[in-house]
């Protein structure tokens, strides 16, 4: 005969109920209507964002990636173009280099990189020792020329160059600067949600943290940020304990506040502040 698992499971739990009344009674406050007078507003903390030359670095990253790529393309395209020209028209080695020189000025007006191509082609033309047979070696030699240019530039810039070397991107770091700002406002405060409404159920004093508010989330209008792995965000109706910061007066039970909520990572607890 089949047994009803859900019913039996619920009965089993209920039949094994602990008696918690003594514990609960001991934890009840003397006067339920008394406000927590010990609750003092926490002085607002000014967060000065550290000025990070992130955008500048990003531009440099772009430059460091694009310039060598353009150089490599040039190194490959010029010899291949020369080979093709020689192969198709049956030109001599000298003629092929001449045709490149003729083509280069026309292309030079397009962009800086193409201008570089033109000057490189011109130098081939002027070099009497240039031989199509040495085309296979060209990439390496031009690359080394380019490297030398870079080195010269670096020497000319001196110590400045060291500052411009992009820092390695840490895994898990925010992808964009905006995202970085959203998540980390400095001093270990991670923005979990910029705007939500909470109703204060009560407050109490924690020995380690100070004043802690018991809140119920009544509405959420901000975006939930994943401030730690597996955190799926807040939901309406959820109860949260958080330390209030930056409020002019002590939070009043039953009153609804519009707040931003942060994870204070060093202390591993939530912090609320008035929403901007």
């Amino acid at each position: 005969m089949n047994k009803d698992f859900a019913k039996e499971y619920k009965d089993a739990v209920v039949n094994d109920l602990p008696d918690l009344w003594d514990r609960i009674e001991a934890a009840l406050p003397e006067d339920v209507n008394a406000q927590d007078d010990a609750t003092t507003p926490v002085a607002p903390i000014e967060f000065k964002k550290e000025e990070k030359p992130k955008k500048k670095k990003k531009k440099l990253v772009w430059l460091y990636a694009v310039i060598p790529a353009a150089a490599i393309i040039l190194v490959v395209l010029i010899p291949v173009g020369a080979l093709l020209t020689a192969g198709i028209f049956g030109l001599t080695t000298k003629q092929s280099s001449n045709s490149m020189a003729a083509a280069a000025p026309a292309a030079a007006s397009d962009s800086d990189s193409i201008a570089y191509e033109a000057s490189e082609a011109a130098s081939f033309d002027e070099d009497p020792s240039f031989n199509i047979n040495s085309v296979a070696e060209a990439p390496e030699s031009i690359d080394s020329i380019f490297e030398d240019d870079n080195l010269k530039g670096a020497e000319a810039q001196g110590e400045k160059t060291k500052d411009l070397i992009p820092e390695p991107v840490l895994p898990g770091a925010a992808d964009t600067e905006e995202e970085q700002e959203l998540l980390d406002i400095g001093n270990g405060y991670l923005l979990a949600n910029a705007k939500m409404k909470v109703k204060v159920d009560g407050t109490y004093t924690d020995d380690a943290i100070g004043t802690v508010a018991e809140l119920q989330i009544t509405s959420i209008s901000g975006k939930n940020n994943e401030v730690y792995d597996g955190f799926s965000g807040f939901s309406v109706g959820e109860c949260v304990k958080a330390k209030p910061e930056g409020f002019d007066n002590a939070l009043k039970p039953g009153v609804e506040y519009e707040v931003s909520i942060y994870l204070y990572a060093p202390g591993d607890y939530w912090v609320i502040r008035p929403a901007d």
Partner: protein
């Protein structure tokens, strides 16, 4: 307990009369504890959260504004407190975190080897893996949806439904439906 009786209890709490809370405690301890136990699936933690729940209810009473069913209200608060606990607790690295996602621990004893007939619900639950037991508890005791369970545990919904189906299969073999 009717809505009026519950309101009367709350009014008594507002006047510092603990008997109001005691009545609610006597009436709803089973429901509240089951819901919380269903989420945390651990006796000591369930007791602590249940205690916190009633203390919170007592403190909330002066500002309580009940429009909907008080039973629903109590259930939601209890469940959210338990979920809040789980979320915070999950930040502490446990051995379970190192178990690869989707790979369930192998039972030492297969269901077929157990004596099916006289098995109690507790013994039947013991045949489930820890992960299966948690999903079944959340579903049966706390009446949570698979989506809610998935969000609470931070596990994909497919994995949750799979665990639940596996658990139900095992329970069926033991004569439960």
């Amino acid at each position: 307990m009717t809505q009026e009786q519950f309101a009367d209890c709350i009014n008594r709490i507002k006047q510092n009369d603990k008997s109001g809370l005691k009545e609610i405690y006597d009436e709803y301890l089973g429901m509240i504890y089951s819901i919380i136990y269903g989420v945390v699936n651990q006796r000591e933690n369930a007791e602590d959260i249940t205690q916190d729940f009633f203390v919170k209810l007592y403190k909330m009473a002066p500002t309580m504004d009940l429009k909907d069913s008080h039973k629903t209200f109590l259930s939601v608060i209890a469940r959210n407190m338990a979920i809040d606990f789980i979320r915070k607790d999950s930040r502490n690295i446990s051995v379970d975190d190192f178990v690869e996602e989707g790979i369930e621990p192998v039972e030492k004893e297969t269901v077929e080897e157990t004596v099916v007939g006289d098995m109690t619900v507790t013994e039947a639950l013991a045949t489930l893996s820890e992960n299966e037991r948690q999903v079944v508890s959340m579903k049966v005791l706390s009446d949570m949806t698979f989506k809610e369970i998935s969000e609470t545990l931070g596990v994909p919904m497919g994995t949750i439904t799979w665990r639940y189906q596996e658990a139900i299969k095992k329970l069926r073999r033991l004569g439960y439906e």
